[in-house]
Amino acid sequence: MVFQDLRLFPHLSARENIFLIPTQNGAVPPMEEMADRLGMNAFLDQKVFTLSHGQRQRIAIIRALSKPFQLLLLDEPFSHLDEVNQAEASILIQEITERNDASLILSSLGAVPPLNFDHQYSL
């Protein structure tokens, strides 16, 4: 799950936040690889409160993907990401969701993220 308010621990580093989860998902690439794909490798050892909101969102996405899941809930996960980062994050999410044979529910304001949805609802 990626919360709208992210629910990260600001006084811990990005890496510590990711490793904090009780059980790790075995069907995901290594954490550093995911961070690299989202352009976050250089920031892994920085305290979360020093990161921008967009960077925090990417850390929250990596943390959500690192947990074992069957249904991934994402509440406005890309609200502070540019298009390039949105695309990278979408590819990663798509790939890991498929690898985990899981479902995904995403809510977003504005443009639809580049993911393959079975259903889309506009409210």
Binding site: M1, F3, R7, F9, H11, L12, E16, F19, L20, I21, P22, T23, K67
Partner: protein, 463 residues
């Protein structure tokens, strides 16, 4: 640096309680635990000491009340118990067994030589008495507690407090008398002079100090022999002997008359008291039951527990007196029990207050980190794991408090033991297994209570 998952969880909760309240609670808990531990241990020590130094609870001596002044009592009113009276006492509720004191029937003077050698230094001289009781009633039978005719030494047993009287009363007031340890006191030679003219001298020695019997005791066999050999019959034990209505002078003692029982004409003879020659009774009346043997004027009773109401009423009705050795120890025991109970109560109250303050402080701590705790719960951590982080913090603090409390109590106990030693009271050092068990039980109970409070507070975050 690798950080353990537990440490990471602690770090992410950023737990910090209200310092002032936690300090006050810790201090209260420290003082409460220390007082409680000391109260329990010191009560055990005091109890142990008193038990070691007191006469047993269930042994009493009984005698008839002595009334009137010296002039009245010079008439030697008979204060002994008759066989019927003894039987009635034995039959009372709660009386396990009774035994009679046999007393000496001859004058005794003793010279005690505290220097350990007869003739060296000054002797403590005293007109004394001897008593004996059946060996079963002694609190212990010393190895030398045997006497046979022609034995060189008469073993003597006196109450332990006689030695205390000597050491703390007589010896400090007289330069020629040294203080004596139990061992030194048992080595003192004692000269025993028998008779008004001190015609016979025997050697004696203290062989033991009794905590049960409040008398100067010698073996039964010795007193039986000495009474037979040296007894001076009392006036009332002399009679005129009437043979064929004529007084056969001189007056005869009871023992002399009893020796004549086998003479063929004995049954026809009569006797009368010296003071009242006209009051003639058959000489055979001397041989009746209970007449042969002098009856005890003091008896020792073993009773089941404390004296029963029936026994106390019987004593009151018959004008008897019941004595018990060292009764003031009851008061001391009660006072100590009250003191340590009070100390323990203050300890318990402080501990309860500290539990309450700790509970409030930890609730506040949990509320302060509520957001982080909720995040952990949403990340998939169970309530148990989140509670354990707070409980772990409490346990670390509590363990330190209990350890410090134990060390403080050890120091306090050490100084108390040293202080007690300076006044000749020897207490065991360290803590008994009972006290340590109680400390363990207290710590576990305290910790379980805290665990419950913490769990509940964390559960409340989910609501």
């Amino acid at each position: 640096m690798v950080v353990s998952p537990k440490k990471r969880l602690q770090r992410c909760l950023q737990v910090a309680g209200p310092r002032k309240e936690i300090t006050i609670a810790s201090l209260g808990c420290l003082i409460g635990t220390t007082l409680l531990l000391l109260a329990v241990q010191l009560y055990q020590d005091a109890n142990h000491y008193l038990e070691q130094n007191e006469g047993p609870k269930n042994y009493f001596t009984m005698n008839k009340k002595v009334e009137g002044g010296a002039l009245v009592n010079l008439g030697k009113k008979d204060e002994s118990f008759s066989p019927e009276e003894l039987q009635a006492i034995q039959a009372l509720e709660g009386v396990k067994r009774i035994g009679g004191f046999t007393r000496n029937q001859f004058p005794v003077t003793v010279y005690i030589w505290p220097t350990g050698k007869v003739g060296l230094g000054s002797a403590a001289k005293a007109d004394l008495f001897f008593e004996s009781i059946p060996d079963d009633f002694l609190d212990f039978i010393p190895g030398e507690w045997h006497w046979e005719e022609n034995a060189t030494l008469v073993p003597i047993m006196v109450p332990k407090f006689y030695l205390d009287l000597w050491n703390f009363g007589l010896a400090p007031s007289r330069v020629e008398y040294p203080s004596l340890s139990t061992e030194a006191a048992t080595g003192m030679p004692i000269e025993i002079f028998i008779g008004r003219e001190r015609t016979t001298t025997l050697d004696g020695r203290f062989v033991a100090f009794s905590k049960r019997i409040n008398s100067v005791l010698v073996p039964e066999s010795f007193l039986a022999w000495a009474n037979k050999k040296f007894a001076e019959p009392a006036k009332e034990d002399f009679f005129f002997l009437w043979k064929d209505s004529v007084i056969d002078s001189p007056p005869r003692s009871r023992n002399q008359l009893l020796e004549m029982v086998d003479e063929p004409a004995f049954s026809s003879w009569k006797i009368s008291p010296l003071g009242d020659p006209a009051k003639k009774v058959p000489a055979s009346s001397l041989v009746g039951p209970g007449k042969k043997k002098p009856q005890p004027s003091r008896i020792i009773l073993e009773i089941v527990d404390t004296p029963s109401t029936a026994l106390l009423q019987f004593i009151e009705e018959n004008h008897y007196e019941l004595n018990r050795e060292f009764p003031e120890q009851d008061f001391i025991k009660k006072a100590l029990l009250g003191l340590f109970f009070g100390l323990g109560l203050v300890g318990v109250l402080l501990s309860l207050l500290s539990i309450a303050t700790f509970s409030t402080s930890f609730r506040l701590m949990i509320t302060r980190s509520a957001d982080h705790s909720r995040n952990l719960l949403l990340l998939g951590f169970s309530c148990e794991i989140v509670s354990q982080i707070f409980f772990g913090l409490f346990l670390r603090l509590f363990f330190s408090i209990v350890t410090i409390s134990f060390l403080v109590s050890q120091c306090a106990k050490y100084f108390l033991v040293k202080k007690a030693e300076s006044i000749n009271i020897y207490l065991p050092s360290g803590f008994s297994s009972e006290s340590l068990l109680l400390l363990g039980f207290y710590a576990v109970l305290f910790a379980l209570l805290k665990q419950r409070v913490i769990k509940k507070s964390v559960h409340d975050l989910l609501l």
